[in-house]
Amino acid sequence: MKFNIIPGDIPLPLPTGGLEFMEPVFHALLVVSWVIHILFINVLLGASFASVYFNKRGVNEKNPVFDKVAYLLTTPVTISENMGALWGVAPLLLVSILITPLFYSASIMNSPHWLHIIYGNIVAFLLSYLYKYTWHTLHARKSLHILIGTIAVAMFFTLPLAFMSTVQLAMTPSTWTYHTHFWDILLRSDTFFRLVHFYLASFAVTGVFMLVYGMYKRRSDDPEIVEAGKVLTRTGKSWFLVPTVINLFIGPLVLFSFPDYGIEAFFNHGFHWLIVLTVLVVVYAGYQLLKDFFNDDLPASKVWSVVAVMFIAVVSMATLRHGMRMGLISPVLAASKAKTEAFQKESLLAFEAAQKAQSEAPVVTQPAGMALAEKHGCLACHNAEVKVVGPAYKDVAQKHYSATQIVQLVHQPKPENWPGYMPMPPMPQVPPADIAQIADWINSLK
């Protein structure tokens, strides 16, 4: 595979403390922390959507149980938005040391849109708090309340667009050009299928979450909460089943939209067996739920077995995703590392040569005033003979200033004396005694 663009690496060692086994540990930590982050985000999207949905349904059907369900769902929203942000930090940290050049390059190519995951998130976050904490105040104004909730949910749903396109771009360096940009990637089929897969998975994961949450609520002493728990259980089952079945078809589309060399590496390393495992496990979970589809009092053992089995599926998916990622980018990472090492080798030679040249540089004798003018940076803008940024000192000498006047003019220049020039910046840090010597030198130029 030929890559057009090979970014450079960071010329500092990986923080492994010299231990060989740390690198695989970093990779494992990346997979685990990323999964946890994604699960929180899944629940955030699903539960915030569900809350607004049940809120609306409660109004339409005049059923207080649905309103209760909607309100109960705001707690997991608060927790998952906070924990989701928090658990995004660990993968960010690990990605930044393991695949530094790819991830940074991708986020720059996607900027400023990439910043949406911060600013869009803040807006969504504040709106979702507004939605939650005005629940009772706005009880009489439901349509306004639902509108706030809807905007918050819509905002949350835009965040994966920025996120997925950056991750997808970082994973596919073979597609980089010199002017790749956000919209190019967002509208690509691979990004599109991954997004569809992700949104559907969010509903499925929220479905599993509802099974657990509903189970706890069914144990309450309050009959209204028990009813709400039953609604959650019932909804959880269909929210899990329907998107999961669709995803069995979207999955292959995702897989085969990756670049060929990545798919090849994927199969060569045997990651496809994890796909088989995932499908088996998911089908088993689906079968278990279908058997009890009309039973709203789903027993705890069944709930936990679905959770356990789906946990295996999620870890397996995350691992195979990591496998695909590394298959796609390892060649570029290796090239990037080699390129940086070669650069450093050459740079060392030039660095040493420069140091040597400096220590051997002949000492030139120049007038004291000129040396000081050099030292204080006057010569960045002035030359004795010709106009540069400021007038030639030869021309300044024509004005026959006294040393004191020149001190004044350096500390507080008068641009009106030299129309057509940019104003000289005031340089109060230069000591008057030095300026006096510079002035003597200037006035010696005729």
Binding site: I5, G8, I10, S96, G377, C378, A380, M422
Partner: protein
């Protein structure tokens, strides 16, 4: 930053974009989280000790506000600092992460504790009424939150201290080998931590005073109690952070101290350092006037005094962060990396071999300068080396910085960017031809109000024209 793609932020520029997020984060994380957790812990403790239901309720209302701010804005803008620097100066954050990985990792674990205990403290406050054992437990949650949030600040301060005063952190340059402990225990860590800790508490007290005013409209007794409590804390912190501030300043490198006055105002006003003094005295008096009058006459002082105090504090904090960022120039990591991502030790090689030659994201036809591609090559150089601090037309516009010059004088001027006249700028890095190309491009934008692609790429490179 020749290793990375180019991202332009028209008009506002990179520094503004970054500063916007960073300052928002500082206001909220220092006030609502670090300082806020400490003072609310204190007032909850007093409420428990005196069985004071009203103070307990007031503390909860303040916590509610701080909770919303800290979680929705503080935490996200904190991650935002990282995301911003990712796209603005990837080489620098990449280096910092490699040196500080484990400290950051530990910080993240503590950040977990912080978040979980904040959520727990806040969500269980109401279900733990005064006088019950649950209340004592709830107080411990707050205490854990306060300790954790201070600890996260301690680590981040080490990294900020490192950027300004890295100490002897490099065992060797080629290949670069950090001394991780020396980097952590850099000279300005402890003084800057003390400085930040005390002004965070003071700033949180100022916020709490304003909020207390709003929440006690019908209860001036409670208002008096709150103002005395938070006012005492605020006034007691002032001498402490001044002391630590002086110690912190003392650690600055001399070159950074020299830039202090210029950082405090603008370069145009550098002839009048007294303006900076007026500014700081003015802002400090706003804080003091508000704090003292609210403390002395809590029942009669109007809301506007609290607002004045708040704006004064924000001004001082903003000013401090601005000066700290400015005096570190031209570096992003002192003596190691320039603000534009070029490592100091790589400069001789880049000057000899060429900068564009190594630019991974510049199309190959612009990697060596020719008469035809000169303007475009110059544009790439501008974007990679100057855009970090300059924009074309907006903030610190390069176009106005070169008015009155011509191509020749621009060429001479950019050969001495790092001279003592403008020590805050990194040197131009690249070959003689590249410097000519940059001068040509700058002169082109000086003369032409709009850039036309036809001018920039004359006959060459159909590749670029997309």
């Amino acid at each position: 930053m020749f290793d990375y793609p180019i991202f332009e932020m028209p008009l506002l520029g990179h520094r503004f974009l970054f500063a916007f997020d960073a300052i928002l984060h500082v206001f909220i994380s220092h006030g609502a989280a670090v300082g806020g957790s400490i003072i609310l812990m204190l007032s909850q403790w007093l409420a428990i000790r005196n069985n004071d239901r009203k103070l307990d309720e007031l503390s909860y209302k303040i916590l509610f506000t701080f909770f919303i701010l800290a979680t929705a804005v503080g935490a996200l803008t904190g991650i935002g600092i990282w995301i911003h620097i990712n796209i603005i100066n990837p080489a620098a954050i990449g280096a910092l992460l490699r040196v500080f990985f484990w400290k950051w990792f530990i910080e993240w674990i503590v950040f977990n504790v912080e978040m979980i205990f904040l959520l727990w403290w806040f969500l269980s406050w109401k279900s733990a009424p005064l006088g019950t054992p649950a209340k004592a437990k709830n107080f411990k949650l707050g205490m854990t939150y306060a300790i954790a949030s201070w600890f996260t600040m301690a680590i981040i301060t080490a990294i900020l201290g490192f950027m300004m005063t890295p100490g002897n952190w490099l065992k060797s340059y080629f290949p670069a080998e950090p001394d991780y402990l020396a980097a952590l225990f850099n000279p300005s860590w402890i003084p800057s931590l003390g400085f930040r800790t005390f002004w965070s508490i003071a700033w949180a007290s100022a916020m709490a005073m304003l909020l207390s005013w709003l929440f006690t409209r019908n209860d001036t007794e409670l208002r008096q109690k709150a103002m005395r409590l938070y006012g005492t804390v605020l006034l007691a912190c002032i001498p402490l952070f001044c002391l630590f501030g002086a110690w912190y300043y003392d650690q600055f490198p001399q070159a950074a101290k020299d830039l202090f006055w210029m950082g405090a105002i603008t370069r145009r006003l550098a002839a009048h350092p007294e303006y900076a003094t007026y500014l700081m005295v003015g802002l400090s008096s706003m804080v003091l006037a508000g704090a003292v009058s609210l403390y002395a006459k809590p029942k009669r002082t109007p809301l506007v005094m609290a607002v004045i105090m708040l704006f004064g504090s924000m001004g001082l904090i903003g000013e401090f962060e601005r000066v700290r960022e400015f005096v570190r120039k031209p570096y992003i990591i002192y003596d190691y990396m320039y603000a534009n991502g070029v490592r100091v030790a790589d400069v001789p090689y880049l000057n000899k071999d060429g900068y564009l030659k190594h630019a991974a994201f510049v199309p190959p036809e612009f990697r060596s300068v020719t008469p035809d591609n000169k303007l475009m090559a110059g544009k790439y150089l501008y974007q990679m080396q100057c855009r970090y601090c300059h924009t074309v037309n907006g903030i610190n516009a390069i176009r106005t910085r070169i008015q009155g010059m011509d191509e020749q004088s621009i060429f001479i001027r950019i050969g001495a960017l790092n001279s003592p006249a403008t020590p805050f700028m990194p040197p131009f890095t690249g070959t003689e031809e590249e410097r000519h190309a940059l001068a040509a491009y700058l002169d082109y934008i000086r003369v032409n109000k709009v850039e036309s692609e036809d001018d920039l790429v004359k006959s060459s490179a159909p590749v670029y024209a997309h």
